[in-house]
């Protein structure tokens, strides 16, 4: 098989942005450089054209076909966050890193939520698109 004729697997952000309007201002988002595929897994065709109506149908495609939307999976564990943000001395010093996870959660929760839950995932305080922590009372 010719090396050039293989199918591409990673599609890049443009593939997603063909259909999805970004919900955030890319210029301001600190995670603007993080590709969609990092957390949303590899894009697969999740907008499937069908001929018949379906409760899941939310939009119409060109040519009168219906489009059935299936949710993309997302990794909501801490691992995708820690891959980049756990403290390692080899990382650039200016890169935001968490030296002590327990302390980070304890201090962070006190500041934002007023109570402590060290078992909560990163997403409890941080929006992946705008990683800055929510302010108090906004969850």
């Amino acid at each position: 098989m010719e090396a050039s004729s293989l199918a591409t697997i990673h599609k890049g952000d443009d593939y997603c942005l063909d259909c999805h309007e970004p919900e955030w201002d890319m210029a301001d988002a600190k995670h603007a450089n993080v590709p969609c595929e990092s957390c949303h897994f590899l894009p697969k065709p999740h907008a499937i054209a069908t001929d018949k109506a379906d409760p899941a149908i939310k939009a119409k495609a060109d040519g009168g076909k219906y489009v059935k939307l299936e949710l993309m999976p997302i990794d909501k564990t801490e691992q995708p966050c820690l891959n980049c943000h756990i403290f390692l001395p080899s990382r650039p010093a200016k890169f935001p890193q968490i030296k002590d996870q327990a302390k980070h959660k304890k201090d962070g929760w006190k500041k934002t939520m007023g109570e402590v839950d060290t078992k909560a995932p990163c997403g409890r305080c941080h929006n992946s698109h705008f990683p800055k922590a929510f302010s108090k009372g906004v969850a």
Binding site: T8, D18, P45, A49, G63, V67, P89, S90, R91
Partner: protein, 246 residues
């Protein structure tokens, strides 16, 4: 080779269109908009070690994109930790594919960094010189490739590569290596590792393009190559390379 390459371009356009089950095109993906003239390109790769955070996204993307067998990797990330006791600790657990767990070292780390490694796509390349059947070759765009239909799996090239970037694929028993994602770059896309890098530590581009980022970096910044004493003329350049890097 020129004839074969230009003939392929037409075929690729057809295969790239993602279709629904009913055959209707849904996505108008970016790669459709750029069909490059293959002979007008000469590629180079830049790794900025000052930006790499060792997240391993590149290694994971490479494995998915190229379906490399378990235990083998076309690209990997090395962690360097230099302590105040003078020791240099180098490790790369599973090629950094699952990022890096914290590692205890003797003394305090006074200098640390990550160095992504991949095929250097040398101009004066030892791997193609030793191949007895000419299965390894350099494409007109400066990409070193292996023709798996010709390769006999003798492993000479694996031994000859001074950067340890080649391996024998246990499934096909032929040599395999980083192709700079040739199937992507010939469609106008960046290699998978470059696409997913969150800090833009990996940069790929065309030296023949005037506004190319790699050309600007190589022209204006202080870049280095791995093992320059071997005179292999790599086209994979490094920014911020330390003397501890081998």
């Amino acid at each position: 080779m020129k004839m074969a390459a230009s003939g392929m371009a037409g075929m690729l356009i057809v295969t790239l269109i993602p279709k629904s089950s009913s055959g209707q095109r849904i996505h108008n993906i970016e790669e459709m908009k750029h069909v490059p003239d293959w002979m007008d390109h000469y590629y180079a790769y830049v790794v900025d070690t000052t930006k790499c955070i060792g997240c391993g996204a590149c290694a994971r993307a490479c494995k998915r994109e190229n379906d490399t067998p378990d235990g083998y990797s076309r690209t990997w990330v090395e962690r360097y930790q230099i302590t105040d006791t003078g020791h240099v600790y180098i490790d790369s657990p599973d090629g950094g594919i699952n990022s890096f767990p914290p590692k205890d070292v003797e003394g305090n780390v006074i200098k640390g960094f990550f160095v992504p490694k991949l095929c250097n796509h040398c101009r004066n390349t030892p791997c193609t010189q030793v191949c007895p059947v000419n299965a390894s070759y350099e494409s007109p765009q400066g990409v070193v490739l292996v023709d798996k239909k010709v390769c006999i799996g003798c492993g000479y090239c694996v031994q000859a590569c001074p950067y340890d970037t080649r391996y024998i694929d246990p499934r096909t028993h032929t040599a395999d290596k980083c192709t700079w994602c040739y199937h992507r770059v010939t469609k106008g896309l960046a290699p998978a590792c470059v696409t997913v890098c969150p800090t833009k530590a990996r940069i790929f581009g065309d030296l023949k393009m005037k506004n190319s980022q790699v050309r600007e970096i190589i022209d204006n910044q202080r870049v280095m190559v791995l093992k320059p004493e071997l005179n292999t003329e790599p086209y994979c350049f490094y920014i911020g390379l330390d003397r501890a890097v081998r």
